[in-house]
Symmetry: C2
Subunit: 473 residues, 2 copies
């Protein structure tokens, strides 16, 4: 039955769209049916790749008619398998890759309109060409797309100053599940005509419609940056340092917490790395300050403020990167933590948030509790302290068996998620729910919230054709 | 029937809440059943005024049980009669006024948690006491409440820099229509656990639940401000001036457009007013720059920038307020426009937005078109040019009959709303839909949007007990 409906659907799509829009060759499909980390494997008979908003609307209308579920996909770089089709082949992949035009970039109005399939790095380049900047960035910038970033409300390393996608999206164009076009691209700064469909679509992981284009806010290009590394005694001191800096300047754009243990792993496993400070410290902060004003002495300002923080004994030591190469080297220490952990052994990652003020205590208390309950493991938190969002990683004991990740790992994740929930936090700060976190979400969310999400999903997508099996428990 | 259900409901509420929570005296009810502008008159048998979140949850559960619709109300200062009960007495007023605690104000985390009934001015004071500021403000600040501001996504005069409530709300606590409590007060900066109920409740005008408390972002207190008045030839030049300033400073916080015609009305009707500039100009800009840094010479900076703008012929003339009294006098000119118009005769107000870059042309073209179609009327736009949001006012011809507002007025509003919609704009930039704009919203919104709003409303409030007859067509 499903197969028959799919055949009619694909035939109908081919009648309306040109042949390039329908991919049925298994070798071309294969790279797109497993998630980025290679954990979840799906099946699909075809990839539909429309090249315009109207074509996406056509495809959605046909999917309605033939009751064929669609799994929207951008760069397939998600961390929760939200763009991976079901294993039973019941859905068809809808790739937005061919919708890759930047419709406009306007330095005056500080807005760009990019189609869903535009790669983040391409948008960075286009903004840069007009002296502006799209400030959100993350590791997958060379592959991830604007549609996926919007549908997962992506974050990254510059959230501290500019927020997640939710803050940067000025308007959304999307095909709603009934095939109608929602056009929010006027990017009105003020508009109070009822519920914000834009906001509902941001972070909906394609379960309420297909994002086809997005209006995005731009900020002035960076004229200069200063990067520093500071040693502190505790995560609390790191947060104090951030508060100290933020009270004195608006230039702080990145602030990452790094435990000594993580730094040691990086120095051990990653070639050509060295610690920035001469002495050891239990915790470290990587600080980036930027300015769009060429006359602003950002290095001098950051150096002065760190000197003050040293005098006030908020930090134990600090050093400013002397040049861009050193700045990159500092960032490499932070960005290599996951790679160094993998080189060391099995590691379990949790992408969590709690209220920012509670994070320093949470990191210490949760790590102690996990290490007590699971002897031999090493737990630690690193990352976006200023956003209340850290990567809480748990490394297997050195004697752990190869199956540790699947066996003890599940129990550890339960414990971490319980601790996060008890602290009023989120078990998914950045990565979304997708397939991988749906069970934990269902286990821990208040019933009223689950019910509300199910009601909204069913109301807007009564046939269940929009990314079934994702996000909503 | 309705009466009987209401009796049982009120009885049940009295069993759970103390007597002060139920008001049935007509004299006490009377001030709250007409809208702020006195245009819409409703009826209700009782006002229920719970004093805690749990009590609101109880009331909503009982309303479910007895199928009694609730109309939530804060300061009753709305502009679209969204808090006015239906005229047939079928609903009960739910006043949040007794929920007026400020639960926390934290300068370190830059967050305050205020209950729905807290008056805006009270929150301003509480933030100020800890050296911080809640930056949203508007004329009704002495009466309007945090719950109402959230439920209407209120704007005001500082939106240019800080955005509407949507940008300032860090988390919402609300009672959903089924009586469950949604608690978003952890105010997580990053949280990707599915659809944002916070964002859905902001601007929902109480049709999807009752906002009981809100976590709000604070910013550093203002150390100094500079206020200036500039004369320009066209609205386009005013926008150029704004872009010129924004490219050179981050201090611009207010930027209001004033046509000469409006200024003349103010000088004619409002005592103790005088024009800031010696010569006449077709258009004017009122500019406010602020700084939180006591060492920042904000007056010097604004004076210097306006000097440059004068040299580059963006503006024809400008003057800086010499002191606070003069700054207040400049603002009084802007704030008195509506009052001066009322003194002059009948005026029809439209609260509209279009894309910011299109606003200068829109103002001129729409005014010309309206004046051509309705001979004798005078149309003009003033207000928040930098947000793409102006008050588009149409004054009756001097010979207009007393019924002009209701008769020709409706046709004029149709025309303005058509022009706004054709320009991709919003027929309600600030004030919401409520009762007053529901017909126009229904007439002009795309059917897909109306359908989506109806589906969401019905899904979350299947019994229709949340502010029936408001917002959703």
């Amino acid at each position: 039955m499903a197969n028959e409906a799919q055949s009619y659907f694909i035939e109908a799509v081919l009648e309306r769209l040109d042949a390039r829009a329908v991919i049925t060759d298994d070798r071309e499909i294969e790279p797109w049916i497993s998630d980025w980390r290679g954990r979840v494997h799906g099946q699909t008979r075809a990839i539909i790749a429309p090249s315009s908003t109207d074509e996406v609307a056509d495809v959605v209308r046909l999917a309605n008619q033939h009751r064929v579920p669609l799994v929207p996909q951008g760069g397939n770089t998600g961390m929760a398998a939200g763009a991976t089709p079901p294993a039973d082949g019941s859905a068809v992949l809808l790739s937005l890759r061919r919708m890759n035009r930047i419709r406009s970039v306007n330095a005056q109005s500080r807005l760009a309109v990019a189609e869903a399939g535009v790669v983040l790095e391409t948008l960075h380049g286009a903004a840069n060409e007009v002296g502006m900047r799209f400030p959100l960035t993350l590791g997958a910038r060379g592959s991830c797309t604007i549609g996926g970033l919007t549908s997962t409300n992506a974050g990254g390393t510059q959230v501290l100053k500019f927020g997640t996608m939710r803050s940067l999206v000025a308007g959304v164009e999307a095909i709603l599940p009934d095939g109608s076009i929602h056009n929010g691209l006027s990017a009105l700064k003020k508009d109070n005509r009822g519920y914000s469909l834009d906001q509902l679509l941001i972070g909906a992981e394609g379960t309420l419609g297909i994002v086809t284009a997005v209006a995005l806010r731009l900020v002035p290009a960076v004229a200069a940056r200063a990067v520093a590394w500071a040693g502190v005694e505790t995560p609390q001191q790191a947060l104090e340092l951030l508060r100290f800096l933020e009270a004195r300047t608006q230039s702080i754009e990145g602030f990452e917490l790094v435990p000594q243990d993580s730094l040691e792993l990086v120095l051990r496993h990653i070639p050509s790395t060295r610690g920035p400070l001469s002495e050891q410290h239990p915790w470290h902060a990587l600080i980036e300050a930027t300015t769009s004003d060429a006359d602003h002495d950002i290095s001098g300002e950051l150096e002065h403020l760190l000197g003050q923080a040293l005098e006030e004994k908020i930090i134990a030591d600090a050093t400013l990167a002397a040049n861009e190469a050193q700045a990159e080297a500092f960032w490499k220490l932070r960005d290599s933590i996951s790679e160094a952990e993998r080189a060391e052994g099995q590691t379990l990652a949790h992408d969590i948030s709690v209220p920012i003020a509670d994070m320093p205590n949470f990191i210490l208390a949760a790590a102690a509790e996990v290490e007590r309950a699971f002897p031999g493991v090493i737990a630690s938190g690193f990352g976006h302290l200023g956003d209340g969002n850290i990567h809480f990683h748990v490394r297997a004991a050195s004697h752990a068996a190869p199956g540790w990740y699947e066996e003890e790992g599940a129990a550890i994740t339960h414990m971490v998620d319980d601790l996060v929930t008890a602290a009023g936090g989120s078990i998914s700060a950045e990565h979304g729910i997708g397939q991988l976190k749906r069970d934990e979400f269902a286990r821990l969310a208040p019933p009223g919230r689950i019910h509300a999400l199910q009601a909204i999903k069913h109301a807007l997508d009564p046939l269940g054709i929009m990314n079934p099996g994702k996000l909503v428990p």
